[in-house]
Amino acid sequence: MATEFSFPDTAAVAEFETEKMSLSMGPSHPSTHGVLRLQFELDGEIVTKCDPVIGYLHRGDEKIAENMTYNQFVPYTDRLDYLAPLANNMAYAIAVEKLARLEVPARCQAIRVLTAEMARISAHLLGLGAFGIDTGAWTVFMYSFTEREKLYKLFEELTGARFTTSYSRIGGLQRDVPEGWTGRVNAFCDQFLPILEEILGLLTRNKIFMDRTVGIGVIPKADAIAYGLTGPNLRGSGVGLDLRKDKPYSGYEQYEFDVPVGTRGDSYDRYLVRGEEMRQSVRIIKQVIAKFPDGPWYATDARKIFAPSKDKILTSMEELIQNFMLVTEGPQMPAGEVYFEAENPKGALGFYVVSKGGGVPWRLKIRAPSFCNLSILPKLCVGSMVSDVVAILGSLDFVMGECDR
């Protein structure tokens, strides 16, 4: 029996009031890459207002830092941008070394650059894979995760941990690179480059991917600067700021690499910038390995900052005392304040350290790039469709562990 149904006539429709709908996306939504909640006000499918709700992953890292010695905080830096812990370790160590006015040897700097660039590749691979999933391309994720796995094998061999590496120490590293490790990194790079082209080939001229990203989430240059965006998101909008080039640290000035810059500032440009950055990272890694310096891998003269070697601790009284003081009171720092930013995969990760002397910081502020990159969302999302918000989030490539600290 067919039910009778008739559309309401126009006169009846006029009696209905149109109203805005509110929609809560997240905190556990596949496209929010962690625990970000977006509170939308929608007009049909168009976003008229967007209010990001963050803090679900807030652990009080800055408070914790005020209550422990400088080296004890290294594992907490792993958990900021947990996709590139090696880069965070390095940024934190350099910030504290600046406070101590300590110069680490060339070999230590080279190892740090090497590991930071490997972390960049690993982070961008995940960013691309997740972005692909957000826009309906599953395969990219599979390819990029295979490559990340190879990187994790190398990280494990170097640091003993795949994920939470805690590799840097104030004034040096946890340990030197293992025998033959740089050769294996080189071999990884050689096999990685053709695979990278394949991965990027899956997206770059992909009709669906381009439809989802070209002209979506356009960030004009002025907005990118006003909201304090950094990293690939800023460069995608046409600002060629890369701290590795413009404010070189840890010996980046010795290496040749190009800084990719977008032209339109849309999601597609941010994707292109990340793709090119991986090629440039491989270039840097190859140069580092080609002129890998010999010599000590920690600051040998910094006796009040870097722990003596284990065999010395077990055989010599003075070194034993020194190690005991380092462990219980922490590396001794002068009073003062420094601010240091490193070019991390997500943008400029900054540490503002205020010291009153001694082994514990008085205040440690972490300037998280993901926090600043997300602050543009209330402006960026307005006027776009809900489905485009998913593409925008994927293109911003944020990590909530870092945003919420």
């Binding site: 807030h58 005020e66 422990m68 600046k98 219980t328 009171e329 900054g350 503002y352 919420d404």
Partner: protein, 209 residues
Amino acid sequence: MSATAAVTTALQEKFPQVTPRASLDHEAVNVPAGEILAVLQYLRDDRAYDLLVDVTAIDWAEGVTPRFTVVYHLFSTAHHGYVRVAVNCPDDGAPAVPSASGLWAGANWHERETYDMFGIKFDGHPDLRRILMWDGYPHFPLRKDFPLAGIETPLPDAEVAAETGTTAIAAPMAGGPFVAAPGEINLTEAEPRAKDESWNEAREKPTRR
């Protein structure tokens, strides 16, 4: 480089109340709260410090005057220099400084975070709500008088609190084994394990079953 080297002197010429601030790296100035917006605008428009990288605050501990200092870090995308601008909050009890969110849209979230963590009000801020802690949270966690372990607090949702009968409890690692105490104190006290009271001379070590 000359553009950045002269910032302190140029600022002092224009704003006589600005004083140089001790710093181990970048140029740094102290600015009175009343002039902060004018100084920031001058730095942005005339000195090309166009990127506001960070806004934060320092709590110099209870009883110290001035207690709160708000710190801005600016960067120039043109000449790649940093400058640090610090403002002491005039009132220790109800700290407040003018909001820079009119100059940089990005200051909005930074100032919300500073308010959330320190309770410093930013006058003229369009939307000064908590950002990392939940709305209605009664404390300011990064103040020095707030304990590391946290303070027991009612859950944000009254209905959930009534149903579950729980509160947001203090962290179990309070003064825990991995936390070294700062400052010039007796090593036995500062040594981390000394604070683990699960077993010591007074209480017997639990034996393995």
